[in-house]
């Protein structure tokens, strides 16, 4: 197989930056395969080479298999890293990559097919005797048939994209009245996000925790796990806050779930980084799905174990990475990740797009930032609204929470609104602090938009002084009474 001298990146945003950094450390050049809309981004500026593979619409660029393969070949790469989302879990893409004489940095197309397709994965898990959530995973995708199956399972039922992940193409159905509309909506989202409208149904566990295990298959096919993460804080099935390790597992549960994770990955002949997701309710765990790719929240695992999963992925694809049986990995301290979404927390989280103004991520020990955009870059409406990830590490969970709140308060993002105020509220919530939150945490406590606080007298004066200074006026505004802006504050 040999070492790569250049790797193509079939992705964008912060994950493209993450991959470029890993490549740089390994002395490997990069080719960024990007859309027309993404030239104002860090990855575009950082990559050794950039190739535009199509227009903004994902179907014509980031989801276009041939365009990505052509770009990688034209860019002189020997391998493609798919990141997460887009084509990362697409077996046809992995296969086309191989056929083009390139290495796909990830599992084989066969592994993706058997584990990545949620329906096949459940078949495999059944054979292995792993516990599954009751549901319907049939081929018949007729909406009327799916409604009948949903009735049979009993509401609430969740409908999910068979090829999906990341909360897209996923809907919670609470009654038969809304079943048809939601199933159709899930099928459309699945088609648009993953290129396949296939969905399946599952009984909705109403007080479950989302726990997942990072698995890693080395170049020889030996699979080990890198412990667990908890991602119970989800909105519309999209994770918002993740942590490692889970505050909810006993040693015994951790051992059993870790074994189950390795068992299914081994059955799927897994190579590289993958994640086995479980739901945990009343001390019982159920296999949810396997994500055959790097996970958005991989940094929290890296922080508690002191590993670099992206470099390990590349080394594995080069045939160079083998787990050392003598090495005992043990998690140390606690790590939390917050996803920063470009959205307005005071307007129910609607996406906020535009040109970024000043951006500042305050440095300090145990802080890590993964971001794809700088001052002057554009946040477009075409893609996922996640613009950055803030990761902290500290010795204990409570200190990590404290640190995260401080870091978020000190972070500055101008030009687009972000969910930072929302994240701070969540991190301060008693149930999160105690670690007892379930996947219904957000809908239970944060279903309404945040109420936008009115400006305090101090804030008004600060704004006034800022306007004067920015417009080249006096040193600072010292008195509201003499301020030319004073009259404007009335009626706020």
């Amino acid at each position: 197989m040999g070492k790569f001298s250049r790797i193509a990146i079939a992705n964008r945003g912060e994950v493209a930056v993450r991959i470029i950094k890993a490549c740089e450390e390994l002395g490997i050049e990069t080719v960024l395969l990007h859309s027309e809309a993404d030239i104002h981004s860090r990855a575009y500026r950082m990559a050794t080479k950039t190739i535009c593979i199509g227009p903004a619409a994902t179907a014509e660029s980031y989801l276009n298999i041939q365009a990505n393969i052509n770009g990688a070949l034209a860019g002189g790469a020997q391998a493609i890293h798919p990141g997460f989302g887009f084509l990362s879990e697409n077996a046809d893409f992995a296969e086309a990559t191989r056929k083009a004489g390139l290495v796909f940095i990830g599992p084989s197309p066969e592994s993706i097919r058997s584990l990545g397709d949620k329906v096949h994965c459940k078949e495999l898990a059944k054979q292995a005797g792993l516990p599954l959530v009751p549901g319907y995973q049939g081929e018949n995708q007729d909406v009327a048939h799916l409604i009948v199956q949903a009735e049979k399972i009993g509401y609430p039922v969740i409908v999910k994209a068979a090829a999906g992940g990341g909360g897209r193409g996923m809907k919670l159905i609470k009654s038969s009245a809304e079943a048809g509309e939601l199933i159709e909506s899930a099928q459309r989202e699945a088609q648009s996000a993953f290129g396949s409208p296939k969905v399946f149904l599952e009984k909705y566990l109403d007080r479950a925790k989302h726990i997942e295990f990072q698995v890693f298959g080395d170049s020889t096919g030996n699979v080990v796990h890198f412990f667990d993460r908890e991602c119970s804080v989800q909105r519309r099935h999209q994770k918002i806050i993740e942590e490692a390790t889970s505050p909810s597992l006993t040693d015994e549960l951790r051992r059993r779930m870790g074994e189950a994770a390795c068992a299914i990955a081994t059955l799927g002949k897994y190579q590289g980084a993958g994640t086995v997701e479980f739901l945990l309710q009343d001390g019982e765990f159920y296999l949810l799905e396997v994500n055959t790719r790097l996970q958005v929240e991989h940094p929290v695992t890296e922080e508690v174990l002191g590993v670099d999963l992206v470099k390990m992925q590349i080394l594995t694809a080069q045939g160079e990475f083998v787990h050392d049986p003598k090495q005992i990995r043990a998690p140390k301290g606690h790590s939390i990740e917050c996803r920063i979404y470009a959205e307005n927390p005071y307007l129910g989280g609607v996406p906020s797009t535009g040109t970024l103004g000043h951006v500042e991520w305050p440095e300090g020990p145990g802080r890590r930032y993964e971001y794809g955009f700088d001052d002057g870059d554009t946040i477009t409406p075409y893609y996922d609204p996640m613009i950055a990830k803030v990761i902290v590490w500290d010795e204990t969970r409570s200190r990590a929470i404290q640190k995260m709140i401080r870091v978020l308060k000190d972070s500055v993002v101008f030009g687009v609104h972000t969910n930072i105020p929302y994240l701070i509220e969540i991190l301060s919530h008693k149930e999160f602090v105690m670690g007892t939150m379930t996947t219904r945490f957000i809908e239970t406590y944060f279903s309404e938009s945040l109420k936008e606080p009115t400006l305090s007298e101090t804030e008004k004066k600060v704004a006034e002084g800022a306007l004067l200074q920015l417009r080249g006026g006096g040193e600072s505004a010292t008195s509201l009474a003499v301020s030319p802006w004073a009259s404007y504050w009335r009626g706020i």
């Binding site: 101008f414 004066k461 306007l467 200074q469």
Partner: protein, 126 residues
């Protein structure tokens, strides 16, 4: 830029920037925006709050499905159309009871923030 404002003898440090007529301020762990022309807190964007006889686009995006036809009866909370932005679907709902007066968009259309997509004629006895 970093600024310092003295209020009642105390220096307040802040970050501030003017972007297209909006002043962005980061002060004491919070970002807020102020309309630089009027000095008032920035107004909420279209589509937010209030009972409107229009269904407006709460963000820029694509119309993927129109669920009702002109003349159809509609009640509060009923889904009227579906939009897609940033790969997520958003179902837009009626805020009042009435009948669909006009539909001012087509499936597949890329619409701007705040565009009035559907107009609803309110039920008169309400």
């Amino acid at each position: 830029m970093e600024i310092k404002v003295r209020i009642d003898g105390v220096d307040h440090k802040a970050q501030a920037q003017l972007i297209k007529g909006t002043l962005w301020v980061h002060h004491n762990g919070r970002v807020f925006t102020v309309d630089a022309g009027t000095g008032r807190k920035s107004r909420k964007k279209a589509g937010a709050g209030g009972s409107s006889d229009q269904v407006m686009a709460p963000m820029p995006g694509k119309v993927t499905k129109i669920l009702l036809n002109p003349g159809s009866a509609v009640s509060i909370g009923q889904a009227v159309l579906v939009m897609e932005a940033m790969k997520m679907e958003y179902t837009l709902k009626a805020e009042i009871d009435g009948t669909i007066d006009s539909i001012n968009c087509t499936v597949g259309e890329q619409v701007a923030l705040g565009k009035a997509l559907v107009r609803i004629k309110p039920t008169t006895d309400k």
